[in-house]
């Protein structure tokens, strides 16, 4: 997948509009300076939008585009191209391709004339969509035809690349419309545009069969995404299998389950559950001890030991770890990694101490988030800290991974909290395990694809045999998300 930096030009300067509204224009400076600061390499594809041209219906930024095309960049330019003459003017400026918007949606005959004059390989058709409806003329009115009709006529004209922008997503960093791209035919060659705001978005787009490129504007300009890193990751979107992790909530040596951390019920023997999950293909197992007493915690160590004896996949254990010595005891009992939560919020230095003693790979920060706040005591009390900021701090202090649980969603089967996941994965490099709210197969996909999680965790769904670990992995695989077999 090509990662294509995008510059919107207005009055010779690089600007960004929010949702296509000229009143929101934010200026970033001269195009050459912006290209330097983004480290756009020679030979790179560059997407340029002539904003005033788009509004007025005639090429405006021709001198600026000619200057940029002379810098050994493969420029594709769009905005206000309504005729063969307009399109020719851009190619005369040195642009390699023209991006045809309004005409592609509104006027199949003009589109065909442009293709006949220039050749289909020099034309990219651009379709702007809002809530499933095609928009034209700088997004200021609806097109006359449906998205399916527009796409059909573009393909009949022989044009290969179609740039599809969900304008409700553009410039607002909510992520691309994965659902829309998934709903479109697999054989299209789509350049995705709008909402790409994290490296995870780039990876997720690169996994979709009909996405051949993605255009990134705001996220590059605002330094949310590094171009070189995005290109490297886009070239290997399936480098690492994503993990499916069953969780055992354990109290007094028994697996229990509850809704929103209360209303606890017995759900069986931890060793039996662990064995079943490994056999089903679990990539890892998490045990969270929710015992409230010292006696219960002693039992937890025995439980960890019993489970570790029966298991040949990685085991992460959390609950009641207050000190480096508690951490060590869990490792000695057979845990590979230990999750810390309340104690780290009360003493953040504990993260660094454990990372130094046992290595960052052993330290998992467990963050229970409720209404945006990090919670202590099994989600019962707020710690007075923003959950996203806390995850960022935990990474800085040496956490190797974050287990992010939405207390609001936990036990509800209404889906993972995608907004929370995006907020965290946009700001940390370490991997995030999504937890809380799994109810359907699609929820697991969405946590990885849209949320940017590198692992998905569920408890009651697996305990109750609603889904097996194998069901989830088969589904993810079919959806193009790499899993371990």
């Amino acid at each position: 997948m090509d990662v294509i930096p995008s510059l919107d030009l207005l009055g010779g300067r690089v600007v960004r509009l929010t949702r296509g509204d000229f009143a929101t224009a934010h200026a970033y400076g001269e195009p050459e300076a912006v290209l330097e600061s983004l480290k756009v390499p020679r030979g790179s594809r560059l997407h340029i939008v002539d904003l005033e041209g788009s509004r007025s219906g005639a090429p405006i930024e021709t001198n600026n585009v000619a200057r940029l095309a002379a810098r050994d960049l493969r420029v594709q330019v769009g905005g206000g191209i309504r005729s063969v003459d307009d399109a020719r003017r851009w190619l005369d400026c040195g642009a390699q391709k023209v991006v045809i918007g309004t005409v592609a949606a509104d006027s199949p005959d003009t589109l065909r004339a442009i293709v006949d004059a220039l050749g289909a390989e020099r034309v990219i058709a651009a379709v702007d969509v809002r809530d499933g409806v095609v928009r034209v003329a700088g997004w200021e009115r609806d097109a006359q035809r449906s998205l399916a009709e527009v796409l059909a006529s573009i393909r009949e004209s022989g044009i290969e690349e179609i740039l599809i922008t969900d304008i409700s997503r553009d410039g607002v960093m909510r992520g691309p419309s994965f659902a829309m791209y998934r709903s479109l035919p697999r054989e299209l060659k789509i350049i995705a545009s709008g909402g790409v705001s994290t490296i995870g978005d780039v990876v997720s787009l690169a996994r979709l069969p009909n996405i051949r490129g993605c255009v990134i504007g705001k996220a590059l300009l605002d330094r949310k995404i590094d171009l070189a890193e995005a290109r490297a990751r886009a070239a290997m979107p399936s480098a690492i299998p994503e993990r499916v992790i069953p969780c055992l909530d354990v109290r007094d040596g028994r697996v229990v389950k509850g809704v929103n951390f209360v209303d606890i019920r017995d759900a069986g023997d931890p060793v039996e559950c662990a064995r079943r999950y490994e056999a089903e293909g679990a990539d890892e197992l998490v045990i969270l001890d929710i015992s409230a007493t010292d006696h219960g915690r002693q039992t937890a160590l025995e439980t960890v030991h019993r489970v570790a004896e029966a298991l040949f996949i990685p085991l992460t254990v959390g609950g009641g770890v207050r000190t480096v010595e508690d951490f060590r005891a869990m490792l000695r009992a057979g845990a590979d990694r230990v999750a810390i939560n309340t104690a780290a919020l009360r003493n953040p230095q504990l993260i660094a101490d454990c990372a130094r003693e046992f290595g960052v790979q052993a330290v998992v920060l467990s963050c229970d988030a409720k209404d945006g706040q990090a919670m202590v005591r099994s989600g019962k009390e707020t710690a007075g800290v923003n959950a996203v900021d806390w995850c960022v701090e935990a990474e800085r202090r040496g956490a190797g991974e974050i287990l992010l649980t939405s207390v609001n969603r936990d036990g509800t089967s209404s889906g993972f909290d995608i907004e929370l996941l995006r907020a965290v994965t946009a700001r940390v490099k370490i991997s995030v395990i999504a937890s809380g709210g799994a109810g359907t197969l699609q929820h697991f996909r969405d946590a990885i694809e849209a949320g940017g999680a590198r692992a998905v965790l569920a408890a009651s769904l697996f305990h109750d045999h609603v889904l097996t670990v194998g069901d989830v992995k088969r589904y993810l695989d079919a959806e193009g998300i790499p899993v371990r077999w």
């Binding site: 480098a239 690492i240 570790a308 040949f312 790979q361 991997s431």
Partner: protein
């Protein structure tokens, strides 16, 4: 089959012991250099820092004991940092000498992917006996920031940004960068292949 497991404090010895037992080994877990030097089949585990692992081996003369055992015809399996210790050199915090039983050096991962690598990664072997019965592309569990790459005795490789060496074999000396004891049935098969290897 008798296996001598080196009881390094810089390792997850208990988990590896469980894996080896499940793979059919009868184990002697020891840090006695003389016992190791006379052993017929040795496993060198290791997690965390290369320097700490090597320092412990040297201070307790276990480095010489391992070399003596191999010279006397023992087979050896290094796991994770134990695998890295087999090479001539590691570049972890400057340059540290390894056991020199396998040619090559260990370097930090470069590129866009997060380091350390924590998780499952697909491994492709070249038909070596250590991977007998394992389908190419089977995933194993890795936790590492450093790895060898493109070394002469490579028998399996994986990709993390670029290709790296997942396993080596120099005659009777084997090393695996992944954790076979945490790699479910495929990992146990690798351990069983080593335990049964003659």
């Amino acid at each position: 089959m008798e296996v001598t497991l080196i009881d390094s404090p810089v390792a997850n010895v208990a988990n590896i012991a469980r894996g080896l037992r499940a793979a059919g080994a009868s184990l002697e877990v020891t840090r006695d250099a003389e016992v190791i030097a006379r052993a017929g089949k040795v496993v060198l585990p290791g997690v965390g820092s290369f320097i700490a692992a090597m320092r412990w081996l040297e201070e307790n003369h276990i480095d010489d004991a391992i070399r003596a055992a191999v010279k006397n015809g023992a087979s050896l399996l290094g796991i994770c940092v134990g695998h890295q210790a087999l090479f001539e050199i590691s570049n972890e915090m400057g340059v540290t000498r390894g056991l020199g039983l396998v040619a090559g050096e260990v370097k930090k991962f470069e590129g866009a992917l997060p380091v350390p690598q924590i998780g499952w990664n697909r491994v492709t072997a070249n038909g070596a006996p250590l991977f007998e019965g394992i389908t190419p592309g089977t995933s194993f569990y890795f936790v590492n920031s450093y790895a060898a790459s493109d070394v002469p005795h490579e028998i399996a490789r994986a990709e993390y940004g670029g290709p790296f060496t997942a396993a080596v074999q120099n005659s009777r000396v084997f090393g695996v960068q992944f954790h076979p004891e945490k790699s479910s049935t495929a990992g146990l098969r690798v351990l069983r292949n080593f335990v049964a290897w003659t």
